[in-house]
Symmetry: C2
Subunit: 491 residues, 2 copies
Amino acid sequence: MTDVSGLVRTSDVTLPIRIAGAALAASPRLEQIAEFDKWFADSAARNLTTVTPVPLEELAGWSFDERTGNLAHESGKFFTVEGLDVRQPGGRVPHWTQPIINQPEIGILGILVKDFGGVLHCLMQAKVEPGNCNGVQISPTVQATRSNYTRVHRGKPVPYLAYFTDTARHRVIADVLQSEQGSWFYQKRNRNMIVEVREDVEVLEDFAWVPLNLVHWLLSHENVVNMDARTVLSCLPFSGMDLVGLLPSGDDDFRASLVRSCSELSGSRHGTDTILSWITEARARADTSASRIPLRDVRRWVRSPTGIAHETGLYFGIMGVDVHASGREVARWSQPMLRPSGDSLAAFLVRRIDGVLHVLANARVEPGYFDAVELAPTVQCTVGNYADVPPADRLPFLDEVLTADPSRIRFDATHSEEGGRFYHARTRYVVVETDAELAPREYPDHRWLTLNQLVGLLRHSHYVNVQARSLVACLHSMFGREWQRPNVIVR
Amino acid sequence: MTDVSGLVRTSDVTLPIRIAGAALAASPRLEQIAEFDKWFADSAARNLTTVTPVPLEELAGWSFDERTGNLAHESGKFFTVEGLDVRQPGGRVPHWTQPIINQPEIGILGILVKDFGGVLHCLMQAKVEPGNCNGVQISPTVQATRSNYTRVHRGKPVPYLAYFTDTARHRVIADVLQSEQGSWFYQKRNRNMIVEVREDVEVLEDFAWVPLNLVHWLLSHENVVNMDARTVLSCLPFSGMDLVGLLPSGDDDFRASLVRSCSELSGSRHGTDTILSWITEARARADTSASRIPLRDVRRWVRSPTGIAHETGLYFGIMGVDVHASGREVARWSQPMLRPSGDSLAAFLVRRIDGVLHVLANARVEPGYFDAVELAPTVQCTVGNYADVPPADRLPFLDEVLTADPSRIRFDATHSEEGGRFYHARTRYVVVETDAELAPREYPDHRWLTLNQLVGLLRHSHYVNVQARSLVACLHSMFGREWQRPNVIVR
């Protein structure tokens, strides 16, 4: 045998155990919760922000381009609101145009983690964003567009940024480009990073080391953990070994099936090669083309003093806001925001197959995706848009979710989407257990996957959409014990 | 323990062994070679094709759009020649425009494989393409653009297509979208598929079951195995287990290090997480933007009766050809082709690190890539472009390859690039062994990877570029014995 001392044999095998161990820890202690509550309330008090809707025409620094009608900042940075022309031959709507946010820069969403006494902690920030319906939420350690960290807006430097731009001295646990809402963003993606440090880190105002099980506990509460934090958390490698050995015996069946689902030794309904081939086929088949067009050329959307809206009032609108923040890098600014016409639903149907939990993923086309198709929740929609739709046109599985017996609902919490771009965008994240077996022929765009398979795909870009990533984080949060069902503990 | 009888535990563990076993088999027997030669010569004789250069203005069915100047087919299908505007702030050339081939359809490149007497065979086609410098080459079982198989050009149906479009009854070994030349194509990608059949398959004229070790043997010969075959072959899962056990003892050191490189148990210089983070960082850093523009707006390229060329004569040109083929789907057609200004070089420096072969991959930006950066050979260039360049501007590692001692050259064969779009595009594929250790700080865009790591990345899209994929196929071909060094057996 050759000397292989200069080689890396494998990733640190203790990492998934340490992550899962932290997640499996019992509910956070009351003193932890009280301490978090005080820190969070203090941050909220320090970071009072007022957000005032204003006409788009009056947004300081922003204007409509004379030629294209696109809405852009005078610096040429941040983002623009443009038009998108979408063609889906054979689709339910074969052709439409819509406004879209174009933000070609790749930002960094990074969480710093550290082991304290054997428990993984995340350095989280309490942060206000103008679109939040409730002020402060907890966000990643670093949440910075390239404009942020190259300081186009002349704000303060981004704290902790160097941990993510100069990683050589640290341990990179996850580092992957992931896309965001493909109906609202044109090919937007951010670099999702988790970096482990061993050294001492100064904890600045509005930052705190939060134990992973407390972060998970917070996910069962409404509008506390922001979208950027959820997408980064979903990239934690919750797999890679036989985690089942961690389970205390006599554990409740659902949770045991969840832990088994995260273990690559448990097997899966379909082999990963089969899943990859299914995704490749969906991408090759997707005949969707999306071209950027001048906002001026978007049809059936109207501009009024209150903003841009679809003539039916459906989908979303573009509005302007003036922001006055006391605790942010810049005290005052103005920006356009996208306001959805109603709350969204993102639901996974889940099923125990031979004792291993599987989620029903949907290979979904959205016009703004970087690569045509991503895996989405079983059901993802704005529920209001389906209120008057005849049964034949109902979305598959929507009624199963909306009428599920409460005993079948394993997770149910509403979270906010990106508060820097979206105004009061809320999504109800639901996990509903079913016994139904589905014929693949009947649902060619749905497949049962284990969490281990989703986590494997999450090491790479453009496989799992942002709503499904939030649900992956929520499912991982159910490793913990008492609070696995909604509303068992209410803050 | 739960009953998991309904679950797939893992992929077929015998597959990598069967692939490697077929590759490790001794050189093809003389009678196999003779039989192949006869079949190949017969096909060549049947498929005589004449290719006549014609002015672009006289290409039947093709014309320059009056408004954009783009060159397109009257059907709107096949492909167009358009312009590309490339900006690389801080790059050696920060801004340029160029013609580019736009072919947004995803085609299928598929090889059917079957086990005969324990040896994997590939169903290969002897096929002429107009750009080939030597007539017939061996190509995948199916090599079809969507225009081909939807029969836009009213040709015959594509043989064997159903094996790749309806895979349920067969075994899908690989199925992944892979990009092609990012300097010549705009975001082109094809579906690379390998499907294993157990049933009898009728062998049509110009097709033959070729044992994998004979396919590999052919890779050491010039211009026999076409680009599409090479890229599909690179996706064969040559890893996943400890292949070292297959090695007869006393084997030559280089080959043993190659086999170890394919085994995931051998370890690697950098962990795969580190490699993924390095690629993510390169993509986030790449500030390249490439926008399609009208061909009319491309600067410094001139149109003459012989085609479109750069004013220096460098890079490539666009020419027209009339094709008269006796053995293809359509007997006569006309098309534009891209003609490179000179032969290319694609070379991997390789190094044994603790007995495990590593290749030096380059994270390379090309404007037509789907996702900004892909892993390329250590050196990839048109050598002629560097003839008069002062030493300081020489490409890294180019001189190491061009002046390598012959005893260091482990593989050296010239192959053709896509003969359906490129006219006489040849690349010299070279593998050169080195002992040099490189400081990562000095070469931030180069990293040592094992073949097992490259094969792992090849399960996913947009990681390994088409030139590096050809080299992966060539390296795999060196599993075989006597012909691992160039020119040992000359046909």
